[in-house]
């Protein structure tokens, strides 16, 4: 285990010990090496960005963290212990929630029901209790509804809570998806391009929400984003990937000055 001391960010927030650590992760699809020997850590309370040009392996990395892909080599350490081979739903139950690059909301349900699905991992009433809507099932519905309403309130989507998700515009859908992930009260929140396809105002809103989430709930956030301005402003530390390799890791300022990173983004004469 490396140090658990953490560090102090530029804006004076105390970052805690290591929450998740990727150790020498390699991911191969047949002969294609999507990720090659990458190691980095995510610390408690920080906003960690993963950036890189298209096809660098960022989304694959996120899929490994959320258990959707199994690394060919290497280990994922979570909360100080190596994580055994797990199904994605088991990873989710351990406190990892995520949003998707292409919105993956449940279109046939209302906003409220969608956000309630985020509470699934916290509900344990049996079949009979649910069928009778009595006892534990009813208590859970009400208790979890309270949590969900707080999230809805926090993300300012009260007015659409009973609207079917299919009727919402793109920007709101992204917000509902964030609400669903937040409702799970995750230890680690993964955001896959939370601002893709948004206009400036929507990006500002989303940035504010991400910072607020981190600030108020202390949620650790790992995000992938292409908008460099957003990444540099939001994140505490940045991992830069290119062609499946890690080419930079550090604070936004360090990464900005890194020659490999500049080369990857601007191209370099061969």
């Amino acid at each position: 285990m490396k140090d658990t001391q953490g560090y102090l960010t530029a804006d004076g927030r105390q970052i805690g010990g290591v929450l998740m650590e990727m150790r020498n992760i390699t991911l191969r699809f047949g002969g294609v090496v999507a990720i090659e020997d990458i190691s980095f850590d995510i610390r408690e309370g920080e906003i960690r960005a993963i950036i890189g040009p298209n096809g660098a392996g960022k989304s694959s990395m996120l899929n490994i963290i959320s258990g959707f892909y199994t690394p060919s080599n290497g280990e994922v350490w979570y909360k100080g212990a190596p994580r055994p081979l797990m199904k994605p739903y088991e990873v989710a139950r351990m406190g990892v929630a995520r949003t998707f690059q292409n919105i993956a909301l449940f279109e046939g349900m209302t906003v409220l029901d969608n956000v309630m699905t985020g509470r699934l991992t916290h509900m344990h009433a049996g079949l009979l209790s649910q069928a009778l809507w009595w006892g534990r099932a009813r208590d859970e519905e009400i208790a979890n509804r309270e949590v969900v309403e707080k999230v809805i309130d926090f993300l300012e989507i009260q007015n659409i809570r009973k609207t079917p998700v299919g009727r919402l515009p793109y920007g709101l859908k992204k917000r509902v998806e964030l609400a669903r992930a937040l409702a799970a009260e995750p230890s680690l929140l993964l955001l896959d391009e939370p601002m893709a396809g948004m206009n400036v105002e929507e990006k500002e809103d989303m940035s504010r929400f991400i910072l607020d989430v981190n600030d108020e709930f202390g949620t650790t956030i790992a995000l992938i984003e292409h908008d460099m301005g957003v990444v540099m402003d939001l994140s505490d530390r940045v991992v830069v990937m290119d062609y499946g390799k890690k080419i930079g890791d550090g604070t936004p300022d360090e990464v900005r000055g890194n020659q490999d990173v500049i080369d990857a983004y601007l191209g370099v004469a061969h």
Binding site: S66, K87, A92, F106, M116, L120, A137, E141
Partner: protein, 358 residues
């Protein structure tokens, strides 16, 4: 004006999550229940009981079972009739092996057997979906009907190969078999179907219902937010087959009185699928609307021309019925994929704001 929801405030999540948060819905349901429990039984003739009231309820229950699987959990099934058969044969074996068993208990227990069989045939759903799963459930359809035919123990080695419902009494009253009165059977069916409906509504609006709908809408996202897809799909198969099995037991014991194996063949599966599609996938109310239409249409076609004095042969009626059902299915698939239930939803939305356009 009559359906105005303004002024009905909710002050707790409990009241917001109530079964009928809108008062008019509750009143409407109360009116329907009065008709179902009092007015219909008092006025209906033997013919109405046997051709409309009892079959509509039983078909609605069977469609409800299928709807849980296909409409809510998104797993297409073409084996409904076979699972009904499992319920019917299980019930038959129970009442003949244990004649002291209360018929209602036997009917409710018979669903347990079909639930078990349903889960077994639901296992392929873990690997395949859509049309391919439908074909896999067809296997259940063929296999089970074959089993009903070949396994003589199931029909107590009858020479006819069919099951005959014996006379069953409950508290001294005949409830099944040739001696049972229609109105007694109607009340029994109505009671069981009502209770099952309430249970199904609760399941589909609660946590399990959300799990099913999430599995249906985006299964990968569902798994990544913590849903065990295997558990979600298999519980859907279990609950669905239970309901369908009870419907099958009612079908034979409270309505048909006797059944041959081929009664549970594909045409019945399709009939129930049509009820669910026309009524509306992903809706509980739709099953009733669909059953009323599919069961009621041939009766109306059979009696209306005669009442109007139009000479029409009974085979013609049958042909017209088939054509109209076929046309309706195409119509609903194109115009309103969410079926009659969605039509009611739209009407209700308009009624709430009527007489204003917005």
């Amino acid at each position: 004006m009559f359906y105005r929801t303004a002024g009905q405030f909710k002050t707790s999540y409990e009241s917001d999550q109530a079964l009928f948060p809108v008062r008019q819905d509750a009143i409407l349901l109360a009116v329907i229940l009065v008709f179902a429990w009092v007015i219909f039984p008092l006025t209906a003739s033997e013919f109405t009981f046997q051709t409309l009231l009892i079959p509509i309820l039983i078909y609605a229950l069977a469609a409800m079972g299928l709807n849980i699987l296909t409409g809510y959990a998104g797993q297409l099934s073409l084996g409904t009739a076979a699972f009904m058969g499992v319920g019917a044969y299980a019930c038959y074996k129970m009442v003949t092996l244990m004649p002291w068993l209360n018929p209602v208990v036997a009917i409710l227990l018979s669903g347990v057997f079909s639930a078990g069989v349903g889960v077994a045939f639901g296992i392929p759903s873990l690997r395949i979906k859509g049309f391919y799963l439908a074909i896999a459930t067809l296997a259940a359809q063929f296999f089970l009907v074959w089993l009903f035919e070949k396994w003589a123990w199931l029909y107590n080695y009858n020479a006819s190969g069919a099951i005959q419902v014996p006379n069953l009494t409950m508290f001294g009253v005949y409830v099944a078999g040739p001696q049972a009165d229609s109105w007694v059977q109607y009340y029994l069916v109505l009671a069981i179907v009502s209770v099952m409906t309430v249970l199904c509504i609760n399941l589909t609006r609660g946590n399990l219902g959300r799990t099913w709908k999430a599995t249906r809408d985006v299964d990968i996202a569902a798994e990544l937010i913590g849903i065990n897809l295997m558990k979600s799909k298999l519980t859907a198969f279990m609950v669905s087959s239970y309901v369908v099995g009870v419907a099958g037991a009612l079908f034979v014991f409270m309505w048909r009185g006797a059944a041959e194996p081929n009664l549970f063949d594909i045409p019945l599966s399709f009939r129930i699928l049509f009820i669910a599609i026309i009524g509306g996938l992903g809706s509980i109310l739709g099953n009733y609307l669909g059953a009323i239409l599919i069961v009621g249409l041939p009766v109306v076609l059979g009696t209306l021309p005669a009442a109007l004095g139009i000479p029409i042969s009974s085979s013609m009626v049958e042909h017209i019925n088939v054509m109209m059902v076929g046309g309706l299915i195409v119509f609903f698939l194109i115009i309103e994929p969410h079926g009659l239930a969605q039509l009611w939803r739209l009407i209700r939305e308009k009624l709430i704001i009527w007489p204003f356009p917005h």
